[in-house]
Symmetry: C2
Subunit: 319 residues, 2 copies
Amino acid sequence: MSLGEFDLIARYFTRPVRRAALGIGDDCALLAPGAGMQLAVSSDMLVEGRHFLSTVVPERLGHKALAVNLSDLAACGARPLGFTLALALPRADEVFLEGFARGLFALADAHGIELVGGDTTQGPLNICITAMGEVPVGGALLRSGAQPGDDLYVSGTVGDARLALEVFRGTQQLAGHDFERVREAMERPQPRVALGLALRGIASSAIDVSDGLLGDLGHILRRSGVAAVVEVDAVPRSAVLGAQPLALQRTCTLAGGDDYELLFTAPGPAADRVHGAAREAGIAVTRIGRIEAGQDLRLVDGEGRQVTHTFGSFDHFKA
Amino acid sequence: MSLGEFDLIARYFTRPVRRAALGIGDDCALLAPGAGMQLAVSSDMLVEGRHFLSTVVPERLGHKALAVNLSDLAACGARPLGFTLALALPRADEVFLEGFARGLFALADAHGIELVGGDTTQGPLNICITAMGEVPVGGALLRSGAQPGDDLYVSGTVGDARLALEVFRGTQQLAGHDFERVREAMERPQPRVALGLALRGIASSAIDVSDGLLGDLGHILRRSGVAAVVEVDAVPRSAVLGAQPLALQRTCTLAGGDDYELLFTAPGPAADRVHGAAREAGIAVTRIGRIEAGQDLRLVDGEGRQVTHTFGSFDHFKA
């Protein structure tokens, strides 16, 4: 049985409105940031074969579609308020929709936010979410605030998503249990919203690692007009990735992409506050380098020897 | 030569930031509604073959992609602030992008708003725009405010877009000049933003006509818990459509879709204020019926005789 557009919205995506002034069912959703707050807005589009594989279970896809947007809010230090969903589907597939909605709303509930509006249409599978959050006026974490002398940190571990992708591509092999762990990193990233909030007023700049650590660091360097040195073997990685050959570890950690950890800078004397914020948010952060004056990005190993690299950033029109 | 994602954003979609606190180039855009204002948010996704034909010129597509979102803001009486664009393209086609950006920004400039963020990716052509506007707290035009006794109005003329579609489909023929006029209605709809603003505090309910007049009226009736009678031959139509057989005129005006005119209700005594708002906005409005107590939707002709109808609403999963 085929479901019409309005039935589909009603069945899978309409839930009681709580925080938003007006949710699904009118021409617009209405949202009000608190007094003294700015609105932070992020849009991401996910396309099959490019951002997810056709083999992904719908529940994980629903999770990830929202997670990548919440990760952008986290990188700005914004508290999520709500999101819109525009969904193109080849057909009104109820099994897909039920799972997708379950994964989407589980993450939304975990962050206390709701779907406030959107659009569904027939077409090649495409998921576009716009997430909105609030941040104190002038208090957003930006890419442009890094200063020479700042320390460079990253949250959690990076590289597992890329390792999982290589297994899917057939270039690497992993035992079943190990594969499940890195696959979970790829398909169920956890946006570091609590860490972003805790780093307000502490971090001097921040970005989320979506296109590869070095590529995303490059955005901070360009916007801030600074250089950096990264201790490549200090970049935190999982036990599974840490058991792989060193060259693969470096590729995955430095140029992996799809990590959704926060990469940020903070003045040296703020180190205790950084680690306090990490404890508060319940996620480890690791110092992986420092910001310097200049323009270049240098990589060094544990003995301080220069490491040559040709890692590029992930680019959706080049990769 | 193929352009990378970041080059592409820089070349076609980066412009100086004016109103927004922070535009493209960080993880989020930052926007601040004025004091006492709520944020109104609308997302629409356009898919080739469903919302536009492959033959459309890119400039008109850029216009329309933003226009349909501004039309949702208009229907809420919201003043546009900015928008995000998520764009999936089969390839980085510079001719397409140049034209698309030109049409998009021409309409954005006409409304004094800017592109504040977004995403570009490789994939089947898909355009997802989220538009944000502001409206006084409690002052949005909703679908739910129609009252028995209210008059029912529509702006401009409706039906031309459907007539153009029928010509493209080959079921109708028009002379070249007439075809250009209805094609323009289909491809370059004008969002009734000024009218939506002028109707704040006057209209009791409003919606934009995107899925067909009767279908969209049905949303007002259901949300407001009222009935309506529509004088079918009073529904305003262009001279080109008015020269077609009556049955075709009725199909196009009542169940056409893609009109982006405002359909709204107002108390009888507010008629002068309604026409004053229309003059202020520079667009005609026509009274086409009235709201009654009950649940049904009746259609009558110029002599008050009942007209039987089987017009459905346009549904992206059924049509």
